[in-house]
């Protein structure tokens, strides 16, 4: 089988192996690590993880598809996830979502044609006392308002290259 995952991936996994009593426990860390490299999780990558862990390819697929953070389809370079759960909703998350849709010209759940932005609705992020909040790639932006959202999008447009 052709290798897709880097040495970095295998080194990271080797380091983690002794920290768990079973190899299967490495499935979540492996999926995180692979997604960090690929931005999403193509089938071939999942199959390679299955081979590394020593389970059936279907088993990796079943685990990966359970968790919302694993992207089983490609996503934009910047992934904006706006929390619309109760606390954020009470603090105007719906308006922020509408703004983001208009600003990016896409609907929630879509990716801009240039592949720069994906927009999704997020369930509670655990930033309720600083609501509304969004997750932008790995970071939280809290006490979010239209200006902050606008600034983030503008900033990311510039770092396009």
């Amino acid at each position: 089988m052709e290798k897709h995952l880097s040495d970095k991936f295998y080194t990271a996994m080797k380091k983690l192996e002794p920290r768990y009593p079973t190899k299967k426990a490495l499935i979540l860390p492996a999926l995180h690590q692979a997604q960090e490299e690929y931005g999403w999780l193509p089938k071939e990558v999942l199959a390679e993880i299955a081979e590394y862990i020593g389970v059936h390819a279907a088993q990796i697929r079943e685990v990966a598809s359970f968790y919302t953070m694993y992207n089983l389809k490609p996503v934009g370079k910047n992934h904006i996830k706006i929390c619309t759960n109760v606390a954020c909703c009470l603090r105007g998350a719906d308006e922020l979502m509408s703004f983001a849709e208009k600003k990016l010209g896409i609907k929630c759940g879509e990716t801009t044609p240039d592949g720069l932005f994906s927009l999704s609705e997020e369930e509670c992020l655990g930033a309720c006392t600083t609501a509304p909040a969004m997750m932008a790639n790995d970071d939280y932006i809290e006490e979010l308002d239209v200006n902050k959202l606008n600034d983030f999008i503008e900033k990311m447009k510039v770092v396009k290259s």
Binding site: Y20, A25, F66, Y67, N85, V86, G126, T129, T130, A131
Partner: protein
């Protein structure tokens, strides 16, 4: 009333999260040292029992009792697993602990591991807390470097490893057996109980699963002594302080700390939260995370703790209070809550998988004025067919809001069905 706090004063300053600060300003690692050098595991568990810590994750189970369930004579390894999945909507207190006092958690893990005989503790942290996981790992590295973790800690002969395991976006992994499956590399589907984790938990071994705040309280408890810790609580069977996540329509949302049972819900909203924003009238309060049955404005003179809230038909859960003012469309809010549970249902058991979706569909019809008058009773009946019938507590979490919203705010639902518009 002036409050004794154990956490709050250390929050919001990034420099507080260092080991140096912890050692200098918080008597860092002295409790662990005392435990490892001077106490037996049973003595630690007894002290924790005396301290009356109730689980801070949601169920409110007495922590000392949980630890005492771990069999002493077991050939299998034992595990302490810290639940840092913090996923009940409204809750964001554990995040504060990890961000600002991570060493408190690590020290708590050392003491807890010693008490139950665990050699490798895991912290299961929700996937979205990318930054928090990094901070925690950095703190763990600091502790390893100082010899507070690893082999022969404080020369006591006790060894402990800690591994941070990241989740990947699933509310249900906050349920302890769902969490354990996720830790094992499986789908985060809750397990049938019995066997309980104390008998067969992580990797089939005896396991205690405790919330971040519960574990982070342990060093305080040991330092103060169980009795003094218990006395911080102002109601029976509930010791220490409580971190409250106060959000929604209050002037000053935030994570606050009060002595357990020392304030009513109204006092918390008025004194800590500064009252309702724009001086609007209070309409309702969700007192313990989005799964707790809603309270109407006239029900909030209740002492904010596990048992008083249970008596008024709701629950303290993870101590996440969401305040709702008069201009809020509760039908839409319920729809949002129901949608959440529908989205997070793992799908393994019938009532939750099918029922949450059905409730969402009925609410959708109500909101779009497509519902029949009988649909409201149908909605409640469906909720009752879910509540108490599911494999884990998610079913109850989804059913509770529906039943309480309709019971307490029925006219708003009826208005929708009649095609009337209350809110713009």
């Amino acid at each position: 009333m002036s409050q004794t706090t154990l956490f709050e004063q250390h929050f919001w300053k990034e420099s507080n999260r260092t080991l140096e600060y912890y050692l200098q300003s918080m008597n860092g690692y002295q409790a662990a040292q005392k435990v490892l050098k001077e106490m037996s595991p049973d003595q630690v568990i007894d002290e924790v029992k005396k301290g009356n810590i109730r689980g801070r994750g949601g169920a409110g189970f007495p922590m000392g009792m949980k630890w005492s369930f771990i069999p002493k004579a077991s050939e299998k390894p034992k595990y302490l697993v810290c639940n840092a999945d913090e996923s009940e909507p409204g809750t964001c207190k554990d995040r504060q602990i990890i961000r600002y006092t991570p060493h408190l958690l690590i020290e708590g893990l050392i003491i807890g591991s010693f008490a139950i005989g665990c050699k490798h503790a895991y912290v299961y942290i929700r996937g979205e807390y990318v930054r928090e996981a990094k901070l925690l790992n950095a703190a763990i590295d600091e502790a390893y470097a100082k010899g507070y973790l690893g082999k022969n800690i404080f020369g006591s002969g006790f060894d402990l490893e800690i591994t941070v395991h990241r989740g990947a976006g699933a509310y249900i992994c906050g349920e302890e057996t769902g969490l354990l499956n996720s830790l094992e590399g499986k789908r985060g589907e809750p397990r049938v109980k019995p066997p309980f984790p104390a008998v067969s938990g992580a990797f089939g071994c005896p396991t205690a699963v405790n919330n971040v705040e519960s574990i982070a309280n342990v060093p305080h408890l040991i330092r103060m002594g169980g009795d003094a810790f218990a006395q911080l609580g102002k109601v029976d069977k509930s010791g220490g302080t409580r971190l409250i996540s106060l959000s929604g329509h209050v002037k000053k949302p935030g994570v606050y700390e009060i002595q357990a049972g020392s304030m009513t819900l109204r006092q918390i909203i008025d004194h800590l939260g500064g009252g309702v924003i724009n001086d609007k009238k209070l309409k309702a309060v969700i007192p313990g995370g989005s799964s707790s049955p809603i309270l109407s404005a006239d029900e909030i003179d209740v002492v904010y703790d596990v048992e008083p809230l249970m008596k008024v038909g709701t629950m303290m859960g993870s101590a996440a209070i969401m305040v709702i003012h008069e201009d809020t469309d509760l039908v839409k809010l319920l729809m949002r809550i129901t949608k959440f549970y529908e989205h997070e249902s793992c799908g393994q058991c019938t009532p939750c998988r099918e029922g949450c979706h059905w409730m969402e569909s009925i609410l959708h019809k109500i909101i779009h004025h497509e519902a029949k008058p009988s649909d409201l009773d149908l909605l409640v009946d469906v909720a009752q067919n879910i509540g108490g019938k599911t494999l884990c507590a998610l079913g109850d979490a989804a059913a509770g809001p529906v039943i309480s919203f309709v019971k307490k705010f029925r006219p708003e639902f009826e208005a929708y069905i009649k095609g009337q518009k209350i809110y713009a």
